[in-house]
Amino acid sequence: MSTKIENTMKPGPEAIDLDEMLLRFRPVVGFKVKKALGGGNPDWEDVVDEIMMQAIEKIKTGEFRGESSVGTFIYTITSRRIIDYIRLKTRILKEAPEVPALPDPHDQVERNERAERLAEAIKQLQTRFRDVLYLYYYKDFSREEVARELGISPARVSERVNYARKLLKKMLDR
């Protein structure tokens, strides 16, 4: 049984399926929040929960009526919540230094395994692919700067980066 809320402002009965919304947007919100707060920050999951709850609340009370897309609606809530969090955190930290919490060990192990395989795969790539990954993603060269450094066109740089990623994906999917 899914929870549907009537969206009365749009022509025709277009309902927002809350369960589907949660399912679809939780990962996206999680991604942005984690990026904004830093993966090591233990609060990020709570912040995501709050955002989802706020979204549901606004839909239920009719505050959101579909004037924008659902994605934009949730993005707006997410941005605001992140700003509030950072503001609050900054204020708290000014008053009392915080002891950093230890990251979830289970998460770490899983991520490390995949990261390890990725790292090994990169080491096995041919020089020309390793070069672009090194300069573009690690050394923060722009596309044009990489092109100049390696003596190839910027378009070729992009091609190589794209191809390197495809190769890595293939190597990992094996």
Partner: protein
């Protein structure tokens, strides 16, 4: 919903090189586009890992060579190629000779027995084990080159900025876009704000002055009539930051960009 971002834009997002407004635009987009979100979150895993462990992956002991000129001589059997000479030198770094092979006899040490003890000292990561004289000489050459070339180094934090017609004391202004190759006349010009600036003055030329504007923002929209008149070719623009009193605070270099055919 705005357009799906291209690969380069996604990469710049993940490496933190987009402006605030570009970032917001892209983020709002992937909140609405699950295909892009999928792409971006997958790529993020790779980018984050590279940025975390890049030193170990690319510069560690078991990392492969980066460019031909960094071939390590102690890896037996590998030929010392001359291809490194063809790679463009990295800005101000001179092309120093490739590491001397460990088995070479140093001619200046005629009569002295070559001790092999120096091989026992741990090699410094990817730096080849060369005699300390060669390292010292190389360091001296590098230092001299850097000192000589500092005035020409197009640094971002240079304290004295030459803008062609005037030398200005102050920080140089970082321009964000457009630069390099663009597909069409840009919609706007963007640069990094200078804290104390009350206003910015921008000039576009190609090569004669096409358009100037003054703004308080870090962005200036290109008016339609100018945009329409811009054919494919090479253009230049420059933006200068001024204080409330009208003194020049910072200036960008004259940035080239080319509108492709």
């Amino acid at each position: 919903m705005n357009e799906c971002p291209n690969e380069d834009r996604i990469d710049r997002y993940l490496t933190g090189r987009l402006t605030e407004s570009e970032t917001a635009e892209l983020e709002e987009h992937y909140f609405n586009c699950s295909a892009c979100f999928q792409k971006i979150s997958e790529r993020n895993e790779l980018v984050e890992m590279i940025r975390d462990r890049g030193a170990e992956i690319f510069e560690g002991a078991d990392a492969g060579p980066i460019h031909s000129w960094k071939k390590a001589p102690w890896k037996e059997g590998r030929e010392q190629s001359d291809r490194w000479k063809e790679t463009p030198s990295k800005g101000f770094l001179p092309r120093v000779s490739p590491p001397i092979n460990a088995s070479d006899n140093a001619p200046w040490k005629d009569g002295r027995e070559r001790s092999d003890r120096w091989k026992e000292t741990p090699s410094k990561g990817f730096l080849p084990r060369v005699s300390r004289w060669v390292t010292a000489a190389a360091a001296a050459v590098l230092l001299a080159a850097v000192l000589v070339l500092i005035p020409t180094f197009k640094g971002r934090d240079l304290k004295i900025v030459s803008t062609g017609d005037e030398a200005v004391r102050g920080e140089s202004l970082i321009v964000l876009s457009p630069r390099g190759e663009v597909k069409a006349a840009p919609a706007a010009f963007e640069w990094k704000a200078v804290g104390a600036a009350a206003e910015y003055r921008l000039a576009l030329s190609g090569p004669e002055t096409l358009w100037t504007t003054v703004t308080k923002a870090m962005k200036a929209d290109l008016p339609d009539n100018v945009k329409r008149a811009m054919k494919p070719g090479l253009y230049q623009w420059q933006v200068k930051a001024y204080s409330a009193q009208g003194t020049l605070l910072a200036a960008s270099p004259k940035v080239d960009f080319r509108i492709a055919d």
